[in-house]
Symmetry: D3
Subunit: 234 residues, 6 copies
């Protein structure tokens, strides 16, 4: 799903930069004679890399920030030349906010809240009408000013910066997302079918971890806690 969300973030950004959508009224790729938009992508994981590739294809100027040097080296190897892979520190983030027409928040730390990389104060650095797409919203978002929105009412303005923080972004391209999801889940389904559920739970770490409810009991503590059920260890 990260790949879907990453690629989709750029097309949402393109849309909301249009004037009737309250953006700055600029075209991501510019045209011959007029400079393209500057896009800053915070986080160089799967979401960020997919966003960067599509943004580059749009002919925009792209910066992708991360703290992992090995990842930055790999991105430098495989990305088109209009993507700059930059080390993410406070100074660089603030520089980028100043330049950016579109900022993608794509820091996803497995099982943890996303860190806030930009405060409300920082928004003042940004140009009026610039756009933030916070893909990390499902983990709390990586901007202080992010709060979850829906496909029905996807955006709001804070200090003249348009925020798009739709949870479950991939839902909008359900056909692509469903295929993508099946590709990842199918091998597990086949394994359960061939092993039988019981043996699967006993022998296969992956299946055990994924089990939320077994024989009517909730076997995953966070799920039990969230919904107020009793937790029954496997």
């Amino acid at each position: 799903m990260s790949e879907v969300a990453g690629r989709m973030s750029i097309q949402e950004g393109a849309k909301y930069l249009e004037r009737p959508q309250m953006g700055r009224g600029i075209l991501l790729g510019g045209v011959p004679g007029v400079a393209p938009a500057h896009i800053t992508i915070l986080g160089g994981g799967v979401v960020g890399a997919n966003a960067a590739r599509i943004a580059a294809g749009f002919q925009a100027d792209v910066a992708i920030l991360d703290v992992n040097m090995d990842r930055l080296r790999y991105l430098d190897d495989v990305m088109p030349p209009n993507v700059n892979a930059l080390f993410s520190d406070r100074h660089t983030i603030r520089e980028e906010l100043r330049l950016a027409d579109l900022v993608i928040g794509s820091i996803l730390i497995r099982g943890a809240k996303a860190p806030h990389l930009a405060s409300r104060e920082d928004l003042r650095l940004m140009k009026p009408g610039s756009v933030i797409i916070d893909v990390a919203i499902d983990q709390g978002g990586c901007f202080e000013t992010s709060r979850p929105t829906t496909h029905k009412d996807p955006t709001y303005m804070v200090d003249d910066v348009l925020h798009y923080c739709v949870t479950n972004m991939p839902g909008a391209v359900g056909r692509t997302s469903t295929f993508a999801l099946c590709n990842v889940t199918l091998p597990w389904v086949l394994r359960i079918v061939s092993m039988g559920l019981e043996r699967g739970l006993n022998e296969c770490e992956g299946i055990r971890t994924a089990a939320n409810i077994v024989a009517g009991k909730v076997t995953n503590r966070p799920v039990a806690d969230t919904f107020g059920f009793d937790y029954a260890p496997l």
Copy 2:
């Protein structure tokens, strides 16, 4: 403006293929494991070439159709390899409608109505939820089913195919469009300033052709006709 409209047509197409916008719910570029969309571009002029480049950058499978072999050869030279330059005939157009998730109409014949390349009947070949962006709408559109729409209410459905036929598309990215327009008009303004208007009208074909109103008289027949004024030849 053609360049703005061409590039913008793909981001509009990406948007309207989203499910909440009534499209098929697919992502233009697909993701690893899931095939990308097929985009058919009717017309290989400036609009079409700009659309093709952005579509290719989105990682989609792209076909661009034209009847001018020299143009097809040039496009083949400069386009990325996921763009196929095809000769445009009735058979190929119908094949493409069958394959396409997104069709861009970009036949602009200077000073003439755009030809209808697809009839209402032909729409039946298309998949439900596929999208038509008719950039040629300002010259009447290149689909039988095209009729002008606005940025406020941009789309309508015909036989399950979503139509986007906004006149003056570049208006949505006014900032980029204004710069682009200035780049093209500035040299003329400078010329008028340096020659003076009268000499400019006398000596310069380009200025004469462009003059709509001179000394309070409408000097351009189509303008005069359209608005019901008297036409005064220069």
Copy 3:
């Protein structure tokens, strides 16, 4: 050798699609105005990736199928944009057979027979004159209809589909293959020379595994079985 076979498979495919060779009479890359061939590559390992790169260089439309999502993501990162990396399931394989002018079988599972990905029945989906190159033939082939052939008599037809199933394909480009082979084997030769054979067999897993005959005794069971010799464990 996999790299040689993978790259060579496309030039064989190009050759056998020529009409005098009994193929459909089409040019892999098409020409401006005429669509290129569609090439389907079953298996995204070393053979498949090398085939895909050459096929893409030919300007063809290429799909490469695999079940390993990590591999598909990497291929998506490094392949040109006219290569689509697709998840391999029964449905997609059948879709691809319908589209393909050329199918490369490149599923190599170390030490195991290649799985049959297409039955004789499935061949009916394919266009008359389309071509199958089964690089997996040394492990039994990945089509039900594959049977080994030779460089002398390399092809046969089944249901109007041309099959090329030459074992030891790299033999045809012996000069390139020999250098490639030396590059891989040279480090082992040097190691044996520097360690001496006895110490090499004792201390080095790689040398031990590779030893077929030691001091006149056959020390590799499959070799012994195949040729009817006694097997002597090391």
Copy 4:
């Protein structure tokens, strides 16, 4: 047809460099660790440019030679970086023959015999088993040692250099060639239909030039001469 012949010349070259076909036994693109073939293309027109693009896609080292500096500059702009555009003089041609594994002759001068760029003597510079594809054979060929061959018996050896000089090369990929030909001829057919033949012959230079036989009389002098008919001027 030049585009078909140009692209096809490389796949023929690839084939005949295989050992069973009497070539050097090398793979055009090499493999990681082993250098690719060097391909020299004499003539940077449509044939040569199409050959160069496919050769580059094969990952070979490519040199394309021409005497037209404007053409060399354009080729430098649009070709991949493994194609070097070189000025064609006697010194450079001889240097290239020394390096080349595959030489494509693609000098086509409209309505004139192709010049001989390499003498029999020059062949001695070439490596044994290297391959010449003379696409210019229909105009007499650009090697002294070229003589026409057929798809049935396409090659012969001179001084250890394999020659492929098939006239009407595009015939082997008839399906692609037919579409390509129709794309070019269709507009003329439509013009004749809409104008009527007589008016077409009177008013349209292109139709007049192309007319070989009108009302049972041969109206094209070379055709009349070749076949021994009376020539009747239009």
Copy 5:
């Protein structure tokens, strides 16, 4: 020679940005984690386009400015995506001076003095240690602060901006330049040889224009004027 000078300008720029050469101490292409240099190229002709391509290959961020929209469109078609083709006006030039680490002056107007695009005042916009390479110096240079230098003593500082204004830049790569020059002049030499000088002067515009001295008389007025000889019309 323009091509040599254009390509060479970037390698001179790279050199003088090194700290021991008095530049800012930055690497044109940056490294993973650190942003590359910004290079501004004033003029999109042959010099500028060749500079842009090499600069892009260095992985820098490149802007190339021109006033000719058709040229900008072509550059946009054939340049890598890290080159932005911008319309050249006073506002954009000043913006670019602010951003640039390296500025290439490449406005060559045939037979006219290059216009001054930046005044001494404008240099204050530039970062200390940034570098100007004025390839237009042979026509007077396109910076107010440019004055001719030599390969021996190539640079000087004005307001902390390093200037490199070597006349006859291609002299430093004499081997490449000599071949390049011969390629362009050889066809004329051959023509003179085959026509004879007299007929050449009478019949061939190109030869006549190029003649500086004929039969001991100076036949080119600027040459005569410059060196104080009598001018004798042909």
Copy 6:
């Protein structure tokens, strides 16, 4: 720092190939009509890969040599097509020395002296005026004829081959290098700050290995040996 040195090696090579610098007087990328330089890079690690990418961007013909087949395969995947990844053996190295205008020595074996890949004898294979940049000089250099030089007096000639063996090359682009260095060291500084030095030394392998002096005692044996201090194990 390896990335800085690798990328910088090509711009140094470009500079010293200029005639006033005593090189052959050729331009790395050639120009349309004139062949580019041939660059040989010995070692495909980080230094070599960064050198290769910049060299390729210069439009040169590039060969990168290594003995690690996995590395060669990866380089083949991600490098532009004018880079050939070759297996490094004595024969190929000598072939390359014959062809090369510029040779980059980039074999860095962690904590060991670089091997000598070319003897003084081998220099005779090279063309007069060709250039060697030995990036491995900090580990002793990979040419027999290498000896350390400085940014002040960077080069010397041996048998007509120019040698550049500056130790601490990145010093010349101090701004870029400093940022690069900070990006790598910053995470360690933060770790020491948050853990405290003592705990850091106890619990963290990386910090312990990096400690040269602790509480006034030299805790790193090579440092102690080199400077004649007592060594005190941690």
